[in-house]
Structures are given as structure tokens and as C-alpha cells.
């Protein structure tokens, strides 16, 4: 009867990254002994907004959300706060809304910067680079792209992006886009990808041409990517600790909902790191690989 | 049961026993019985909506009867689909043509039974060669690789007949096979039917052209309002028309095709066409184009246009109406030159056209009768703000329903539920509602029963009396002779002759229509 209920909302369960995030929210909710209402934004801001509205009608006790778009979800989050429901955001930070209980995140721009810096470190003498971007217009795609360019644009002379295309976060598209890039430009030194799926697609394209020494960087540190890093197929992947973010967020939300415990920090920022062969043990999901 | 059943010489091939068919609200057939014997032609007659097509559809497996029994060749027969009927040798020519417009003539003829070459693959060459021979039997000479959508209605009807004749059959069911045909083709079909009869094939034949029926049928079964009205036998000579009509309508027959009393034909020239030529459509290269037509149409006159299939009559009508592109020539209305580029232009100028292909060019099958009726006169039944004034619209329809005696359930009923003749009357009403200066009617009584046909003729005469200039295209010469004040004949996109209606006879017209073409001997 008195069991609390929280809403856990992620942008899209079509992506393994968010499946993991929701799974972690679920696990932590169970550990904390609260009910969880799940929400899948289905890659649509109106859908995620609608889910929040439905949760408000049901009077959930707290909301843990990874917003699909920080601007578009702001009104819904505002509405929740006005209804007196504590909101904790994960992963992407919503600016300009007063009264968000806490934010737990690792900035995608920072992640993109880390990814590019790892590449720079691997090629101190400069490199020819392919860059595979995410879905045009999508929040993470914009931020990660920004991070990569923040690092590489000042180093234009040494690090040239000779081929830059979107592959919509999809493996099959990454494969054909990379194929086209390889045919047009020959072998690059490195390929920077805005997520692991695209990186794994690029791996297949390079393998088909026997370009096994191209350094390919992914993003999200999915188990499959970790295996590829271990096997030397990927040079690295960016770890943003989505599991830790999720669990921390749930802890903060539940603590407040139970007895108004204010979080120690309003802003918990985890620094994204690039997982390579040497620091595989830092990866959150290494346990899921066999 | 039939009163003359005792006179049967041979056992019946097909016996229909007490068949009833109900649709929602309508009983289309009620306890109908009849027999067909091998080697005979049975005419099935009745007014529009009498239930003829319904009966034939039941026999062909298109729909099941509500009750009753059918016996074919001594065995009870319950077809579930057209294929079941086909397998027993029952071949049907449907009233609403059942060709597939996107396929070629050859493929339509060989649908489901294309000749196979080596490897079991379809042999297109053989299919086209064979179909050329098959359509030649009905007097059609065109490239079998032509898609059916490029054929005129008459040609489609011939293709359909040819296909039916090429199938192995014991019973051929023909639902108004001649409605779009002219004399020559009809003669050819009759002789083929005659030969089939001699070969022992049974034929059921539906037509609204009673002369035809009288000439060829051995016996007739007449339906009235879904009930059996009686059977007629050819005792020695052909069955007389008045006898048929009496059975059909249930009262003594008034004279058919009574020539309207000679009227004063107003003198002013309404429509004047000079040197009209049309553009050849690349999509239909074999279509006839007009080769320079000169024509005058006076106010208050009915001008009959006669011609063989493919003579260009329809082209002429469409060109005047702005439906086809004109290459050269002038058209003047009341002395002022006009150049309608679209039907909308022509309509605004006061020209109306009842097209020949009702199904594809005139009706909105799924829409209600009311919408079908008022569509060409939306301006009349709407106010300045663009809202329909439905009450006036309904009143107008109700009055035409009465004057044209349209049989329908309600103004909302989809028009596809009406019998063909009644659909035609709705289309006529559509144009009457516009009160045009010039009305072109292309095959106005195609599929219309005798009674209604006479009504349509009366309507045309009344319209002419009101000063409307009427151009009537018809493949039925008796009809042309009956109502026209003046008749022109066409052939190959040209006018080949003209004469006053009183002087015209079928022979004279035939001669002009066929002009340089030798009258082919009936095979």
C-alpha cells in the first residue's frame, strides 16, 4: 500500500544503450523496494511528454528521466515539478527549468572530446580521419559531433576529417557509408563514430577490405564493443557509465520521495573516459561479456 | 413449372428449380424456374431490374441463391465460384465487362490458360498468334498485344465474346453481349450462335433489342419484377414482338419506336463544326482520329449519328465536348466561335455529354444516387457560400425520379446497386438538371429495356421541343431511325452522308456507313 512508485523514462528502447539504462533503473528500484513505471520515449518528444503526463495522473512519487531532447521535454518536466513531483534527470541536462532535484550525467560533448583526444593521442603525428555522425538533428548526435569538432577543428592542419557522413546510428548504414568512404578516399588512419553500432559496422567494412590497422573509435561502451576492443577490432569506446548514472539517480529520487532527503550534490557529473585494451576493467558492462 | 415443359424433345441440360435471391431489402428473384436444352438458344427477357443478370450470376457461380435448386446435366449443381461453373463447361459473358484493362487482348483471351512452350513457360508468340485467329472470328482485327484499356467499349465487348467462344463450352451465358455493337457485328455474332446451336451447345441470351431476340431465339423465358412471367415458344416462325412485350410489362404492347410526329424543326444553327481534326494519342495509336468533320446542329433538332464500330462517332462527341485535344478546325456555338479545352469549359458554354462507357466515364459507383445526380450542376444546388442546398437537390431528384421513372430505394443508395437501365436514367437526369443548349448522347439507351427506351426517346423528343439541340450517337439503327430528325453517317473519322430522318432506311444508312468497305459475307 505504502510502496512508492517512480517513473523511469528513457528516450528509446530501440537502442541497446537505453535498454541497459532502463534495466539498471529497474534493478535499483527493486533494490530500493519501490515500484517502477517504465516509459519508452520511442524516439519522439511528444511520446515521452505523454508518458510523463500519464504518470502525473497516476501521481507517481518521483520521476527519473533521460530526456530525448532537453528543450522539448522541458515543459513536461516543468509541469511535473509544478505538480510537486521530484524529478532527477540522467545523461542530458535540462537547463532553465527551476527546481529539478538533481542531475546525474556525463556530458555528450565531453564524451565526444574524449573520443577525439584518444584518437589524437594515438596519432601524435597527425591523421586522416573518417567521421560517422549520428542521426541528424538528434540530441546526442549534435553533442557528440560538437565534442569531436571542439578538439579537431583547432588541429585542422594535422588532423583532417576527409570524409564525414551520417550513418544514423545504424550498423547497416555505417557499413555501406564506410564502404563508400573507403572506395572514394582509400584507407584512413582512424574512424571516429558517434556510437558503437556504427563503429562495429565500420569494423566490418574495413575487415572486408583487409584494412585491419585502421583505428576505429566507438561510443557507449556496449558489451559487444568491449569484446571488439578486447579483440583489437576497435581502438576504443567512450564509457559514460549509464548504469551508475541510473542507479545514482534512482537513489537520489527515492531518498527524497521517502523522507525529503535533499541530495548531497545537485549535480553529479561523471567524467566520460575512453575504454581501450589497457583499461577494459574500468568498463561498467565488462561483466556482461563472456 | 413451365407449361410447355411437356413439349421437350431432349432432356434439359440445365434446370433451374424455384430459385430465389434476396439482397438486403430487395428480392431480386423469387421462385424462378426454367430449363435449357442442348442445341437451343433460350432468350431471357425482362425489364431493367427484372433479375436477369442476378439469375445468370447465380448460374455462373458468382453468387449463391438464397434458396432453390439448380440441376446441370442431371446432377445437382452448387457452384462456389466461377471456376466451378467453368469446369463444367458453363461459360459466361457478363453484362459489366469482365476484362482486365491493364492486360493485353491476348492475355485476356487466355487468362488462366496461357499456352505454354518448352520448359513450361508461357509462349507469348503462340498466345498472340492464337488470339489473332480467335478475335478474327468475331470480325475484330487489331494487334492482340494492345492493352484492353485502349479499346473502345464495342471492341471490348467483341473481345469478351471471342474469349467466351474460344472456351470449351456446353452452355454459354450471354448477358447483353450486343449492347454496344452495330448491325454488322451483331449479324456475325448471330451466325456464330447459330453454328454453336447446331453443334449442340446450349445458349442463354439476354438482350433488350427484341428484334435480335426474336430472330435468333428458339424459346424465351420472361421475367417480371423477379418473378417468372412466362415462357414463349417459336412455334414455326419467330416469336412476335408484341407478345414479348406484353409478357414483359404485363399489359398490351403499345407500338415500339413510334416515330415522333413530325415536329417543326427550329431553324437556327446552334452548333457548327468545320474541319475538325483530332490529335493522335500516343497511348492509343490505333484509335481513330477525326479527319476533318463538318457538321451543323440546329436548335430543337435531333441529329442521329450512325456508323460502324470505330467510325469515330465517340471521338467527335469528345472533341466537341473538350474531352480530347483538337488538332485543327473550328467550333461555333450560336455563331460565336468557341474553343473548349476541358469538359468544364464546354459545360459552362452549355454543352452536355452522356458518355458511352457508363461504368468508367459516367457513374461514381460507390457514391449515392443524389451525388451522382447533381455532380454536373453543383452550382445550381448550392448557395453563394458554397453550401449545398440539399432540400432543393432532393426535390429535383425526386421530380426526375418520377418523370424518368427511376427505380431506386433512396437517394443515398450507392448507384452501383441500381440496374444498368436505371443508372443510365440517373445520368440523363444529371444532364437534364443543367438544362444545356446542346446535349450529346452517346449510346443513350445502352442496356436500357424497351419500356424505358421508349421513355428515353420521349425525353429526347421533349428536350428537342424545348429548343435543345441534340446529337444522338447510337449503334442501334432502329433507334436512330426512330428519333432522328436528320441523320449523318460516319466512317473512319469522316462524315460520309446525310439525309432527313423520314427518308432514311436501314439499308440506305448501312450503305453510307460501310461506303468503300465491302459488306463481308456472313461466315
Amino acid at each position: 500500500q505504502d510502496k512508492l512508485t517512480i517513473l523511469g523514462s528513457v528516450p528509446s528502447l530501440g537502442f541497446p544503450f537505453f535498454v541497459h539504462m532502463l534495466n539498471q533503473i529497474k534493478a535499483e528500484a527493486q533494490a530500493q523496494g519501490v515500484n517502477l513505471t517504465e516509459s519508452d520515449g520511442q524516439n519522439s518528444a511528444p511520446k515521452q511528454t505523454a508518458d510523463i503526463e500519464a504518470a502525473l495522473v497516476q501521481k507517481v512519487d518521483a520521476i527519473v528521466i533521460s530526456p530525448l531532447d532537453v528543450n522539448a521535454l522541458a515543459p513536461a518536466i516543468e509541469q511535473a515539478i509544478q505538480a510537486g513531483i521530484p524529478v532527477v534527470t540522467i545523461d542530458r541536462r535540462v537547463d532553465g527549468v527551476e527546481g529539478i532535484l538533481a542531475h546525474v550525467g556525463a556530458d555528450n560533448v565531453k564524451g565526444g572530446e574524449a573520443e577525439a583526444q584518444a584518437m589524437v593521442a594515438a596519432f601524435p603525428n597527425g591523421a586522416k580521419i573518417f567521421h560517422l555522425q549520428g542521426q541528424p538533428g538528434a540530441g546526442p548526435a549534435i553533442d557528440r559531433n560538437k565534442g569531436v569538432h571542439n578538439v579537431l577543428d583547432p588541429l585542422k592542419d594535422k588532423y583532417q576529417i576527409i570524409f564525414e557522413q551520417t550513418a544514423n546510428f545504424a550498423r547497416a548504414e555505417a557499413l555501406s557509408v564506410t564502404e563508400a568512404g573507403l572506395a572514394a578516399n582509400g584507407k584512413p588512419d582512424a574512424i571516429i563514430c558517434a556510437n558503437d553500432d556504427m563503429a562495429l559496422g565500420a569494423v566490418e567494412a574495413c575487415a572486408a577490405r583487409n584494412f585491419t590497422d585502421v583505428k576505429i573509435y566507438g561510443f557507449d561502451a556496449l558489451p559487444e564493443a568491449l569484446v571488439a576492443v578486447r579483440d583489437g577490432k576497435l581502438a576504443g569506446t567512450v564509457e559514460q557509465f549509464p548504469g551508475e548514472q541510473s542507479r545514482t539517480a534512482v537513489q537520489i529520487a527515492v531518498a527524497f520521495a521517502k523522507d525529503k532527503t535533499e541530495p548531497k550534490e545537485k549535480l553529479v557529473l561523471l567524467t566520460p573516459i575512453v575504454i581501450g585494451k589497457d583499461n577494459l576493467d574500468k568498463a561498467e558492462r565488462l561483466g556482461e561479456t563472456k | 413449372m413451365a407449361e410447355d415443359a411437356a413439349s421437350s424433345q431432349s432432356p434439359a441440360l440445365l434446370a433451374v428449380e424455384g430459385v430465389t435471391k434476396r439482397f438486403a431489402g430487395v428480392t431480386a428473384l423469387s421462385n424462378v424456374s426454367l430449363e435449357v436444352r442442348p442445341g437451343e438458344i433460350l432468350g431471357l427477357l425482362g425489364e431493367n431490374g427484372a433479375g436477369k443478370s442476378t439469375l445468370l450470376k447465380i448460374l455462373s457461380g458468382v453468387m449463391p441463391p438464397s434458396s432453390g435448386r439448380i440441376v446441370f446435366d442431371g446432377v445437382e449443381f452448387n457452384p462456389h465460384n466461377p471456376q466451378d461453373a467453368k469446369r463444367l463447361g458453363i461459360v459466361t459473358i457478363y453484362q459489366e465487362l469482365s476484362l482486365i484493362p491493364t492486360l493485353t487482348v491476348a492475355e485476356n483471351i487466355f487468362i488462366g490458360r496461357a499456352p505454354l512452350g518448352p520448359l513450361g513457360l508461357v509462349s507469348w508468340r503462340k498466345m498472340e498468334e492464337d488470339s489473332r485467329a480467335i478475335i478474327a472470328r468475331v470480325g475484330l482485327d487489331l494487334d492482340p498485344a494492345t492493352p484492353v484499356s485502349a479499346l473502345s467499349v464495342a471492341e471490348q465487348q467483341l473481345v469478351e465474346i471471342a474469349r467466351a467462344l474460344s472456351l470449351k463450352s456446353r452452355l454459354i451465358i450471354m448477358d447483353e453481349p450486343t449492347s454496344a455493337l452495330t448491325e454488322t457485328e451483331v449479324q456475325k455474332l448471330m451466325s456464330i450462335m447459330d453454328r454453336l446451336r447446331k453443334d449442340g451447345v446450349a445458349i442463354m441470351f439476354v438482350t433488350h433489342r427484341l428484334e435480335e431476340a426474336s430472330a435468333i431465339c428458339d424459346r424465351m423465358t420472361v421475367l417480371r419484377d423477379g418473378r417468372l412471367a412466362g415462357h414463349l415458344d417459336r412455334e414455326g416462325g419467330p416469336i412476335k414482338l408484341p407478345k414479348i412485350i406484353e409478357k414483359m410489362v404485363g399489359r398490351a404492347a403499345s407500338e415500339l419506336y413510334a416515330r415522333p410526329t413530325q415536329r417543326d424543326v427550329a431553324g437556327d444553327i446552334r452548333l457548327s463544326v468545320r474541319g475538325l481534326r483530332t490529335v493522335r494519342d500516343p497511348q492509343a495509336p490505333h484509335a481513330i482520329v477525326l479527319e476533318g468533320v463538318d457538321l451543323d446542329l440546329k436548335a430543337g433538332e435531333i441529329l442521329g449519328v450512325a456508323g460502324l464500330v470505330g467510325s469515330g462517332r465517340t471521338e467527335l462527341a469528345r472533341a466537341i465536348f473538350g474531352a480530347d485535344r483538337i488538332a485543327a478546325g473550328t467550333i461555333a456555338l450560336d455563331g460565336k466561335p468557341i474553343a473548349p479545352e476541358t469538359p468544364a469549359d464546354a459545360i459552362r458554354l452549355g454543352i452536355g455529354l452522356v458518355p458511352e462507357d457508363r461504368k468508367h466515364q459516367a457513374i461514381f459507383a460507390a457514391l449515392g444516387i443524389l451525388t451522382n445526380f447533381s455532380i454536373a450542376a453543383l452550382g445550381r444546388y448550392s448557395n453563394a457560400a458554397g453550401f449545398m442546398t440539399e432540400r432543393r437537390e432532393r426535390e429535383a431528384l425526386a421530380s426526375y425520379r418520377k418523370t424518368l421513372s427511376i427505380r431506386m430505394a433512396s437517394p443515398e443508395q450507392p448507384i452501383e446497386g441500381l440496374s444498368g437501365g436505371n443508372q443510365q436514367k440517373v445520368i440523363l437526369a444529371r444532364w437534364l438538371a443543367r438544362d444545356p443548349k446542346v446535349l450529346i448522347v452517346d449510346e443513350p439507351t445502352r442496356g436500357v429495356d424497351v419500356g424505358a427506351k421508349a421513355e428515353v426517346h420521349q425525353i429526347l423528343v421533349q428536350l428537342a421541343a424545348r429548343g435543345i439541340a441534340i446529337m444522338m450517337i447510337s449503334s442501334e439503327l432502329p433507334e436512330v431511325l426512330a428519333v432522328s430528325d436528320r441523320i449523318v453517317t460516319m466512317r473512319r473519322g469522316r462524315i460520309t452522308g446525310e439525309m432527313p430522318g423520314i427518308e432514311a432506311t436501314e439499308e440506305k444508312l448501312m450503305e453510307l456507313m460501310a461506303l468503300d468497305q465491302k459488306q463481308e459475307a456472313i461466315p
Binding site: L13, T37, S39, D40, Q42, S44, A45, P46, K47, T49, A50, E53, A54, L56, V57, Q58, D69, N71, A72, A74, P75, E78, D95, G96, Q135, P136, G137, A138, A141, I142 | F23, A24, F321, A323, T342, P343, A344, A346, I347, R348, L353, H360, Q361, F364, A365, A366, L367, T371, S374, I375, A376, L378, G379, S382, G386, F387, M388, E390, E412, R430
Partner: protein, 338 residues
């Protein structure tokens, strides 16, 4: 016309008969009952208004799509066009492409909500007109033209905004997305008003008759003197107009115009229309049906979410129910008619 229309034609409205004669409506009623039994708070006015607000965006476009599909056409570009018009509205409202991100009510350099609304609907209508022109004059099938439009408008949207969103509108504009009149959300009122208007146009005007006729038989319509090309162009203008209006409402609701807005909407919108009984082959259908179709989809989504059904299972259930709702309708019709 679908049975809903036929009923209303008869004058008296018999609720039971109406329900019985139109499968999707009956399904809608059953769903509402089931969801309410499962969780009584489902019929809280707040939730009902939520649902109304949720269906209003795709619902508005579905109204326009009804016109298009009645002419046997289709418009796949609506989702992209929504994003495009939304971006145009944002640029006008904010007076530039800069994403100031401020959620405050400032926005002094912009041209205000009215200019933004006007820009959205005019651009939408124009874009629709251009597509209609390509369909009638270049004789390219609607499917191809609007599929081209789908990618072109998305590309233009991304180009305008350089990929990012444009956010932060002033309160007067936001009212159109988040405001209430009495207890009723403004988007729901806009949708209801638009639906009534469309119903009247289709059912009681000359123009509406012409739309049905063109869809029923284009050749017969031409030979009856209708300007078929103009009518065809007009329906694409109408759906474009509604895409623009929906874009304005959506931007106001989310306080943001996104370049990725409306992805996949074409299918949701077309489903609402088709589930509502409008035939993809033209000539048959009604606005009432479309509203029911949109409501059915909205209630299903909300109700399943409300009961915390897992997202994967939701997909399966929604797909099956949509098919069943239409199958049931066919069954009802085949029983009543024949």
C-alpha cells in the same frame, strides 16, 4: 461514405446503432471501459484531456490527410513538413535561427505568435501546393512526389536549423500548446474545431462533394465538368495547411521546434484515417471516422502506458488491436449489408 456519415444523414442519432455499425467506435468504447475497470483513474478528466492533447497533433494532420486520401492520393511528407513548418514558426517567433535556449518569456526580437502561426500555415499550404502541382502537372504519382517531399523537407529543416532545435517561445505562443480554456486544453479545442469544420466542408459544401467525386471516379468527374486538377492541388494545400497548424501547436507545446520532429508521423496519420474507414482507393470515408481512428490509437497508447505494460508488449498489443478493430468493422458491415 462510412456508416457514421450515413447515420447522421438520417438525422436522429441512435448511439447504440452507431456503435454497432462502426467497428472502430465500438472497439474504442470497449477499450475505454476495459482501461477504466483496470484503473479507474483512467477516466479522470485530467487523463482524458491528456489523451485529447496527445492526439491533437497527429489528429490535425489526419484531418487534412482525409481530404487527400478521399481523392485516392497520399501524402508521405507530412512528418517532415511538420518539422519544416515548426522550424519556420520558430525562426519567425524568435526573429532568427539562434537557439537561445532561454525558456523565459522574453523573446523580444521576434515577431510574435501570430506571425509565427501565419508563417507556419502559409509555408505548409505552399509546400502542399507545390507538391500538388508536381502531381497534377508533372503527372508523378502522389506517393513518389510526397516521398521526395519527405526527404526534401527534412533536409531543408536540418539546413535551416543546422541540425539543432530552436527553443524558448514567449508565453502568448506557448498558450496554444499548454493553455487551458476552462478545464479543456487549447490543442484539444483547436483539434475539435478543425474537425467540425472539416466535417461541414466535406459533408455540406460543393467543394466537399467534388472531393468525393474526384476520388470516386476521376474520369467521370472530369467529364462532369469538375476541375479535377485544381481539386487535387487543393487537397494537398489543405493537408499542408494542417501540417503547419499542427507544427505550430507542437512547437508551442514543447516550447521547442526540433529538426527531428514528426519522424514516422506519416504512418500514424494515415493509420488514423484508414482505421477510420476511409478507403485508400478514394471516394469513401468521413471525418468522423478519422477522429475515431485517431482516438483509438491515442487511447490504446495511453491506456497501455497507464497500466505500465512493457513497451515491447505495447507494440504487439497495439498492432493486433488495430487489425482486430478493422476486421470487426468489416464483419459488422458484411452482416448488416448482405
Amino acid at each position: 461514405m462510412s456508416s457514421t456519415t450515413e447515420q447522421s444523414q438520417r438525422g436522429g442519432i441512435n448511439v447504440a446503432r452507431l456503435l454497432m455499425s462502426f467497428g472502430p467506435l465500438m472497439f474504442l468504447a470497449v477499450l475505454i471501459v476495459v482501461f477504466t475497470v483496470l484503473k479507474p483513474s483512467f477516466i479522470d478528466p485530467i487523463n482524458i484531456f491528456n489523451i485529447m492533447r496527445q492526439i491533437s497533433i497527429t489528429g490535425l494532420i489526419a484531418l487534412g490527410m482525409t481530404f487527400v486520401i478521399l481523392t485516392a492520393g497520399i501524402d508521405l511528407s507530412v512528418g517532415s513538413l511538420l518539422a519544416f513548418c515548426g522550424m519556420v514558426a520558430a525562426v519567425v517567433a524568435k526573429g532568427g535561427t539562434a537557439n537561445t535556449l532561454s525558456l523565459s518569456t522574453s523573446g523580444t526580437q521576434g515577431y510574435g505568435w501570430f506571425a509565427a502561426l501565419l508563417a507556419a500555415v502559409v509555408v505548409g499550404a505552399l509546400a502542399g501546393g507545390v507538391q500538388g502541382f508536381a502531381i497534377t502537372r508533372l503527372k508523378v504519382p502522389p506517393f513518389v512526389v510526397t516521398l521526395g517531399g519527405l526527404t526534401v523537407f527534412r533536409g531543408l529543416t536540418l539546413t535551416i536549423s543546422n541540425g539543432g532545435p530552436i527553443s524558448g517561445f514567449d508565453a502568448s505562443m506557448r498558450w496554444f500548446g499548454t493553455g487551458l480554456i476552462g478545464p479543456v486544453p487549447v490543442p484539444a479545442i483547436i483539434f475539435a474545431a478543425a474537425a467540425i469544420l472539416c466535417h461541414i466542408v466535406l459533408r455540406y459544401t460543393r467543394y466537399g462533394r467534388a472531393v468525393y467525386a474526384v476520388g470516386g471516379n476521376a474520369e467521370a468527374a472530369r467529364l462532369s465538368g469538375l476541375r479535377v486538377d485544381r481539386i487535387l492541388i487543393s487537397v494537398y494545400v489543405i493537408v499542408g495547411f494542417f501540417a503547419g497548424l499542427a507544427a505550430f501547436v507542437l512547437s508551442a507545446r514543447l516550447n521547442s521546434s526540433e529538426a527531428v520532429a514528426g519522424i514516422g508521423y506519416e504512418l500514424t496519420v494515415i493509420s488514423a484515417v484508414v482505421i477510420g474507414g476511409t478507403s485508400l482507393f478514394g471516394g469513401i470515408g468521413s471525418v468522423g471516422g478519422t477522429v475515431v481512428g485517431a482516438a483509438l490509437i491515442g487511447v490504446l497508447q495511453n491506456g497501455l502506458q497507464f497500466n505500465n505494460v512493457s513497451s515491447y508488449t505495447q507494440s504487439i498489443v497495439i498492432g493486433l488491436i488495430l487489425i482486430l478493430a478493422v476486421a470487426f468493422d468489416r464483419w459488422l458491415k458484411s452482416r448488416v449489408r448482405r
